[in-house]
């Protein structure tokens, strides 16, 4: 192995922790709900009030339910309904995506214990 080989590997190894640090932050309570839709992109909603949020996706309307600071897809126009079956999101970092309808919901907070949780 030549010297540039070693140098390249060492530099990459040095940069790796920085990438982890930057993209993998640590966590806590969910403070708000983030909904991504194909039309309006990222939208932030608070979790204080229990309600149903209707959003437009590619296939039709998805309904996002907010209750007790938790959230879920309660209605979706997609064929598989995987988004609905994945159930309630309870912690900051929890995320569910409805790929056919191109809508996703995520619980987020300034302090996140997990970056993303999926089942």
């Amino acid at each position: 192995m030549t010297r540039p080989d070693w140098l390249l590997i060492i530099i990459t190894l040095a940069i790796l922790p920085m990438i982890y640090e930057r993209l993998w932050r640590t966590s806590g309570e969910a403070e708000y709900l983030v909904i991504y839709t194909p039309e309006s992109g990222r939208q932030q909603h608070d979790l204080h009030e229990d309600r149903l949020i209707k959003v437009a996706g590619v296939l039709g309307e998805s309904v996002v339910e907010v209750r007790n600071g938790h959230t879920r897809f309660s209605k979706a126009p997609c064929p598989g309904k995987y988004c609905m079956h994945s159930g309630w999101l309870t912690e900051s970092g929890h995320i569910t995506a409805c790929l056919p309808n191109r809508v996703s919901i995520q619980l987020a907070g300034d302090m996140q214990r997990f970056d993303a949780i999926n089942f």
Binding site: M1, D5, I9, L16, I19, Y20, L23, Y36, A97, S104
Partner: protein, 175 residues
Amino acid sequence: MIIQTTDNDHRIAWLAALAIAIHIMESSLPSPVPGIKPGLSNVITIIVLIRLGWNAAAWISIMRVLCGSIILGTFLSPTFIMSLTGAVCSMIVLYAGTRLPGTGFGPVGYSVLAALAHMAGQFTVAYYLFIPHPALLHLFPVLITAALIFGVTSGIITLAVINGLNGDGNECSTQ
């Protein structure tokens, strides 16, 4: 009209066939995370880069992606676009790598460069074209780590193969 082919064309075709075979064998390996695979056909690209130069390596790389995708049935699918982006990015970076003054990179350095460029290029396309969601970014560090590990691994394999070729005193002969 008969197209005249040169020995060099034949050599590139043989090596491309080898790369395609490795590519296809590898596609049947299960992967824990989408996007992570050893990239062993990279070994052929790097050997060709060192023995025959960048042009031949670029041909083999592009032919591998085209023929490999046609055989696997992924031609013009997202998989193909990702694969092509990866190949193009690694070839661009490898070109820059060959221009390095001084001792220059050995097989391991080239392999790591190619793997990192491949992964970074693919990830960028995946993020901007297919899944523009911030959650995807969480995967990036893992993918780059895998790229580094597999880059070093296939670099060491390349080194062994090149040493073997040098030891026999053979050219990359296809005749």
